[in-house]
């Protein structure tokens, strides 16, 4: 018979306001096995834990129930307290009477009634708990960073500087990411490439960092401390060791009609290409989809002109398998497709562009060599209209419900830069709200208005109508003047909503990291664990977790790195002891459990069993505790009830059901 203690937390007034904690404690005393109950202001405090420890020792408790907040918050706290009192930590159960009770119910009587039921269920469960012991697993001292933008580069540098090996996997031919496409950065107007390139070079030169460009993560196995990852190195068709990066192949390539991804399709590139001048590695890639040699078999110009003999049309994709202790996701973002927003005429006029396209136009290495000109006819614009919140803060199926966060600032930046370099250009910005929380951000925006005379209009645009002469007629509203207005523009720039890169979904699935409805990766806790995924060993860096600007991304990248380093620094990890366990006497050797196990943790062995005095050899299931993650799929699949999950056993869960339905 268990001797159970029940501890009811007030959580200040968080619980006590809608749950009569004294009554819960009283009701608990009526339950079988309960020999002690107590309530206290803050159970998680030192004093609260001391009460629990004292009660365990004085009353000789064999199991405890803490009625408090979610086990996701303080289960570990109370398990550790129990351990200090000499009780097995897995003899602790939590009744969640805060998140699942007091915070959602307003009526004291109703809240109390439900809290009593939840407590009853936890008591019923702990009555059947058995002491469990964690195993140990090893930690591979190497980290994987998925994505080679500023987030991934910074994370890799920080982990490598702490002394651990890091691999960066980047799907495009070069590291650098979105930041390499940006011309200037707000609010200081630094040249983006000038501050990014040194970091790229540093990462490439670091002896602890290995960079896989033009590569993708293909398969992930294992778990925290011991991930096994397959990386597909796509065939570059250029020998990385031989290539000198002279660029002759790109010059001579006869096919130059592929829209440049780096310049957002504003101009074309050759079929063999490096995305931009400062690319790392400075080794081109042959785009087999567009290369004449690969399409028709005839050509081969690049191989002929290559002095180093680096061109290799026979090169095949290569799979590299590597072990990692920690994985950092830094997959970044893209702008949304604008097909559904064609009231802005994006697909109807080349002079309606996204802000990222404007970055390329403003950049000296861009399609217009940095001259502000219209894509349609190369003329210098006189009037420019910027439209904010294109697809952001839109709860319909067209857009994204969230604020993209960076648009207000980069629009102010663009407006300011244009007015500075081309004072004759009139700049009008249509906005819903100007959001500038950040150091020196609002001052920056006000400078655009006060010093540079950018015309900010509160209101949205309903339609952009291209005129026969190529002008754009912008029909918008000035809400402060309560007038519908028509503005003639030569160029319209759309502050397009950002969304997580499309690759994130498959990567999250491979890592079993959770993802929200907008495809942003979810944090383990929105406030207290913002750079960790709920999946142990997976960390989040940059926009894959939520919209953010460059300084925030760099800060988060560092935070993700230190979390990864914290993991890599450990020699051993304690494993979850809530693993499956087979009853050899009941097992019929059918293999159903092994078939559903996602971890290959179940094997079969011939074993001598003693079935009520009869000794015989049988084929029975055996669970590898180091591999089992405790999902329980096998327990339900087993036709004879031989498989059970420790910590969540059939009897325990049925006891909970019974207690709730009583």
């Amino acid at each position: 018979m268990q001797r159970i203690g029940v501890f009811v937390c007030h959580c200040g007034s968080n619980i006590a306001a809608t749950v009569d904690v004294k009554k819960v404690a009283e009701a608990a005393m009526m339950e079988p096995g309960v020999v002690h109950s107590d309530d206290y202001q803050y159970m998680c405090s030192e004093a609260g834990q001391a009460r629990i420890i004292a009660a365990i020792q004085e009353k000789g408790l064999t199991g405890i129930v803490v009625c408090a907040c979610s086990p996701r918050m303080h289960e570990t706290t109370f398990r550790k307290a129990a351990e200090r009192a000499g009780l097995n930590p897995y003899m602790v159960e939590i009744a969640n009477i805060r998140e699942h009770c007091s915070w959602i119910h307003k009526d004291l009587e109703e809240g109390t009634k439900k809290a009593v039921i939840l407590t009853r269920a936890a008591i019923a469960k702990v009555n059947l708990n058995t002491p469990l012991k964690s195993g140990e697993s090893r930690v591979t001292k190497r980290a994987l960073v998925i994505g080679g933008g500023i987030a991934g580069i910074q994370t890799a540098l920080d982990i490598a500087d702490a002394g651990y090996e890091v691999d960066i996997v980047e799907k495009t031919p070069s590291i650098g990411g979105r930041m390499s496409q940006v011309d200037k950065t707000f609010p200081t107007l630094d040249c983006s490439a000038c501050i990014l390139t040194p970091k790229m070079v540093e990462a490439a030169a670091h002896d602890k960092i290995t960079i896989y460009t033009y590569s993708e993560v293909e398969k992930v196995g294992g778990f925290v401390g011991d991930f096994t990852v397959d990386i597909r190195k796509k065939a570059r068709s250029i020998d990385m060791d031989k290539c000198t990066g002279c660029g002759v192949c790109q010059e001579k390539c006869p096919y130059k009609k592929t829209p440049s991804e780096f310049n957002r399709g504003l101009n074309n590139r050759s079929a063999v290409y490096t995305p931009f001048a400062q690319a790392i590695p400075n080794v081109p890639v042959i785009d087999r989809e567009h290369c004449i040699k690969f399409k028709t078999g005839k050509c081969g110009v690049c191989a002929k002109v290559c002095q180093a003999g680096a061109v290799d049309y026979e090169q095949q994709d290569e799979i590299v398998t590597e072990k990692y202790g920690a994985v950092v996701v830094a997959t970044g973002f893209d702008t949304i497709k604008l097909d559904d927003f064609d009231e802005y005429a994006y697909s109807q006029s080349p002079d309606v562009i996204t802000s990222l396209e404007l970055e390329r136009i403003m950049n000296a290495a861009g399609p217009t060599k940095g001259h502000l000109e219209r894509i349609s006819d190369g003329k210098a614009p006189k009037n420019m209209v910027f439209i904010q919140c294109v697809g952001s803060r839109d709860i319909t199926c067209r857009g994204k419900s969230y604020c993209s966060k960076i648009c207000c600032m980069y629009t102010a930046k663009h407006a300011m830069l244009i007015r500075d370099k081309y004072p004759g250009v009139n700049v009008t910005v249509f906005y819903i709200d100007v959001r500038t929380p950040g150091k020196n951000f609002d001052e920056f925006y006000r400078r655009a208005v006060e010093e540079y005379g950018v015309n900010y209009i509160k209101g949205q645009v309903g339609k952009v109508a291209p005129q026969p002469d190529g002008q754009l007629l912008v029909q918008g509203v000035d809400l402060l003047d309560n007038k519908q207005i028509l503005v003639e523009a030569d160029m319209v720039v759309l502050a397009t909503a950002i969304e997580p890169d499309s690759s994130v979904r498959s990567i999250a699935t491979m890592l079993t990291a959770s993802i929200d409805t907008n495809n942003f990766l979810t944090e383990a806790h929105p406030k207290l664990r913002p750079v960790e995924s709920p999946t142990a060993g997976v960390f989040l860096s940059g926009v894959c977790q939520g919209p953010k600007d460059i300084p925030e991304t760099v800060a988060q990248a560092g935070a993700a790195a230190i979390k990864a380093v914290g993991l890599l620094a450990k020699d051993k990890l304690l494993t979850n002891p809530c693993t499956a366990k087979a009853d050899e006497l009941l097992c019929n050797g059918c293999s159903n459990c092994a078939d559903v196990c996602p971890y290959g943790a179940i094997t079969y062995e011939e074993k001598e069993v003693n079935d009520h005095g009869i000794r015989e050899m049988r084929r029975v299931a055996s669970v590898n505790n180091a591999l089992c993650q405790g999902c329980g799929a096998c327990t339900v699949t087993c036709p004879c009830g031989a498989m059970d999950l420790q910590g969540f056993s059939n009897r325990q869960l049925i006891a909970e059901v019974d207690a709730i339905c009583r």
Binding site: D339, D340, S347, Q348, V464, Q467
Partner: protein
């Protein structure tokens, strides 16, 4: 292939052409429009009020008739298309409207939006196919520069009607290409013509129509085509209409298919 056909009030009176050209073209393309018996007017505008039931019943009756025949329903008039699709959507998704309409109708089997509603243009696009249509054209309208006028009811609300991209439609342009002519794209092709407002606010409708016509003409259109009798009426009242005629798309279809003459003789 037989379709249940819902012509609507205007196609029986002022817009007989729209109807007659469509029927003969359908025949030439190998499908038949079987007019729904005893159809009643759809009301011209979709009743937006959440508690409007009676005004939706005539549509439900027609939709149910098509369902009983096991046919898809085809409409030609933009307004009918709009009303039918939206009422059908209500019958599929809005429990309250579905229950009350069915209680009132007392059908043997309740109607729950089973019928597929198609605009004639959708039949051409997805059932016949514009490539196939192109093959059937005997009299391609070479060299003609034609602007599509969609108006509002054919397209909006886009996610519900599922007709085309509401902000950048392409069905009529594809149709124009299929009959051998050259489409002219202009920005106001999905802006409202003024609709019924022209009855009491003539000036207002006039300025809206002029914007559309001037823009189309400026982009080089020599002719506009539409699916809606009301749009046609409003657009034709514009001064620009003297050099930019507005026609029903079915008239050009019949011409391209070589059946225009026979329709005119029959009249």
């Amino acid at each position: 292939m037989k379709y249940s056909y819902y012509p609507g009030c205007t196609l029986k009176t002022k817009a007989k052409d729209l109807d007659a050209y469509a029927r003969s073209s359908a025949k030439a393309l190998g499908f038949e429009l079987e007019e729904i018996e005893n159809w009643q007017c759809c009301g011209g505008v979709y009743p937006l009020g959440t508690d409007e039931i009676a005004s939706k019943l005539s549509s439900v009756r027609a939709l149910n008739e098509a369902k009983e025949k096991g046919q898809d329903m085809v409409t030609l008039c933009s307004a009918c298309h709009h009303v039918m699709k939206r009422v059908n959507d209500d019958m599929q998704h809005v429990e309250d409207i579905r229950n009350r309409a069915n209680n009132y109708m007392k059908l043997n089997e309740p109607y729950t939006g089973e019928t597929t509603v198609l605009h004639f243009l959708e039949v051409l696009k997805s059932r016949i196919g514009f490539d196939k249509l192109k093959e059937k054209v005997v009299n391609p309208l070479k060299g003609r520069k034609i602007g599509a006028y969609y108006g509002c009811l054919l397209l909006r609300p886009g996610n519900l009607l599922q007709f085309d991209n509401a902000e950048n439609p392409s069905v009529i342009e594809d149709f124009i290409r299929a009959i051998g002519a050259e489409p002219v794209i202009y920005p106001y092709r999905n802006e409202c013509c003024g609709g019924y407002i022209s009855l009491k606010e003539e000036k207002m409708a006039e300025s809206m129509v002029n914007t559309i016509m001037t823009s189309a003409s400026g982009f080089g259109a020599e002719m506009l085509i539409t699916a809606c009798p009301l749009c046609l009426y409003n657009l034709n009242k514009s001064d620009v209409a003297t050099h930019l005629p507005v026609l029903y798309f079915t008239e050009l279809l019949a011409e391209a298919l070589g059946v225009k003459e026979e329709v005119q003789h029959a009249e």
